[in-house]
């Protein structure tokens, strides 16, 4: 089902998967996935709808457990940044309140400064006191990226990170990935591989 395309120096391995399988009831979503991801590497996960990209990323983030096989993620839970299909923010709270909540839970040092810097960088500073229920899809995606980067994660697991972003947002994310790429480990799933191909050190095609 998968074409393992990732190999790395074992000593610096961040994620190691062997015969990974995930089922939901009778439905087998992933089967026989093998890969290793080295520290500071960038794994690009591609595949059509329903191929299990999201499931694989949820497994890597620790949001789901494999049904069979082995998956070892050598990064602490609190050092993982995750962007999924939902922004994972409360709609009745403002952007600032949401990030403060996550900042406290992730024990972010100098939280206010870090939040301010991220909101400024992602163009949300002026709307920081507005409830996120009034945000557009693109603004929510920007906020999701702020949330994922807030605690300066070592491993970034990004599921369709460009989803909903306009040209400015896309450029912002490109710039962010460019800057973080040498110092972080990435697992990124996307329908548009050409957009992040230049960052990728390895590729996993799901079918």
């Amino acid at each position: 089902m998968a074409r393992p395309g990732c190999s790395a120096d074992y000593s610096g391995v961040v994620i190691q998967a062997r015969g990974l399988e995930k089922r939901y009831g009778d439905k087998r979503v992933l089967r026989g996935i093998d890969f290793e991801l080295a520290r500071d590497a960038f794994l690009l996960v591609t595949g059509p709808n329903g191929s299990g990209k999201t499931t694989l990323l949820r497994l890597c983030a620790g949001l789901a457990a494999p049904t069979a096989g082995e998956l070892e993620v050598r990064t602490e839970r609190g050092r993982i940044g995750f962007v999924g299909h939902e922004p994972l923010v409360y709609r009745e709270l403002t952007a600032l309140e949401n990030l403060e909540l996550y900042g406290r839970l992730y024990r972010v040092a100098e939280c206010r400064e870090r939040i301010g810097m991220l909101l400024e960088r992602f163009g949300l500073w002026d709307v920081r006191h507005e409830r996120t229920s009034s945000y557009s899809r693109g603004m929510l995606q920007r906020l999701a990226l702020c949330r994922a980067l807030l605690h300066e994660p070592e491993l970034l697991v990004l599921d369709e990170p460009y989803s909903g972003l306009d040209d400015d947002g896309t450029a912002l994310l490109d710039r962010e990935l460019e800057e973080l790429r040498p110092r972080r480990t990435f697992v990124v799933a996307t329908h548009e591989p050409t957009r992040v191909e230049r960052f990728a050190s390895s590729r996993l095609a799901l079918a």
């Binding site: 620790g62 839970r77 995750f82 939902e86 994972l88 409360y90 909540l101 024990r107 949330r147």
Partner: protein
């Protein structure tokens, strides 16, 4: 200390959300008062205190069920539970924070319900109040876990009552017993034991409920 701080942060967040959205507590208050008014007219005038106490507990249990059905609404509908689960804090802190906020909602609902009960049916004594407080602890502990389980299911509206009501039977037995007997100590002890037992079970098992 860090654990308690996380619990406080999460419980406070739930209270702020309720203050903003006002979609749980007003419904609980309206429901419990309406139910007691209906029971007032349904119950014959010469009914026993036992029947009245029984109806109070029916009203309280269903009011709690109403609150519990909304407990993880924000997390479930908006997927925020994933964000909380990913945080480095102990996952049981999510359960405890949510249980505390539910406890506050139940307490507020009963601040209205007990005077209304006294108005319609008769006096509220100390044993009844102790019974209600202990029942709230059990409801919050068990209900929070079950609400989280139901949230992960597609048929959450159906699943929660099916799971909660059987487990609430001991609470009703203990609560009614504490309310109507001359020696409520036995029932109060039973409720306290139920609370302690289920709080430990729910605290320990919550992590497995919120991960796939």
């Amino acid at each position: 200390m860090t654990y308690l701080r996380d619990v406080g942060v999460l419980a406070r967040k739930d209270l702020v959300l309720e203050l903003r959205a006002r979609d749980t507590l007003p419904a609980m208050l309206l429901f419990v008062v309406s139910t007691l008014v209906v029971f007032h007219f349904v119950l014959p005038g010469d009914s026993s205190d036992l029947a009245a106490a029984g109806l109070l507990w029916v009203a309280l249990i269903f009011t709690a069920l109403l609150g519990l059905s909304r407990a993880f609404a924000a997390e479930g509908e908006q997927g925020v539970i994933d964000g909380l689960v990913l945080a480095p804090s102990d996952r049981s802190a999510i359960w405890l924070g949510k249980a505390l906020s539910i406890l506050v909602f139940l307490g507020l609902a009963e601040l209205v319900a007990l005077p209304a009960f006294a108005l319609f049916f008769g006096a509220v004594d100390g044993a009844l109040v102790v019974g209600v407080v202990l029942a709230d602890l059990g409801i919050a502990a068990v209900g929070t876990l079950l609400a989280a389980m139901a949230t992960a299911s597609r048929s959450r509206e159906l699943l929660l009552p099916l799971l909660f009501l059987p487990l609430a039977i001991p609470i009703v037995v203990g609560g009614v017993g504490a309310s109507v007997t001359d020696d409520p100590g036995r029932y109060v002890g039973f409720l306290a034991l139920y609370d302690a037992l289920f709080a430990i079970i729910c605290w320990a098992s919550f992590e497995y409920v919120v991960t796939e």
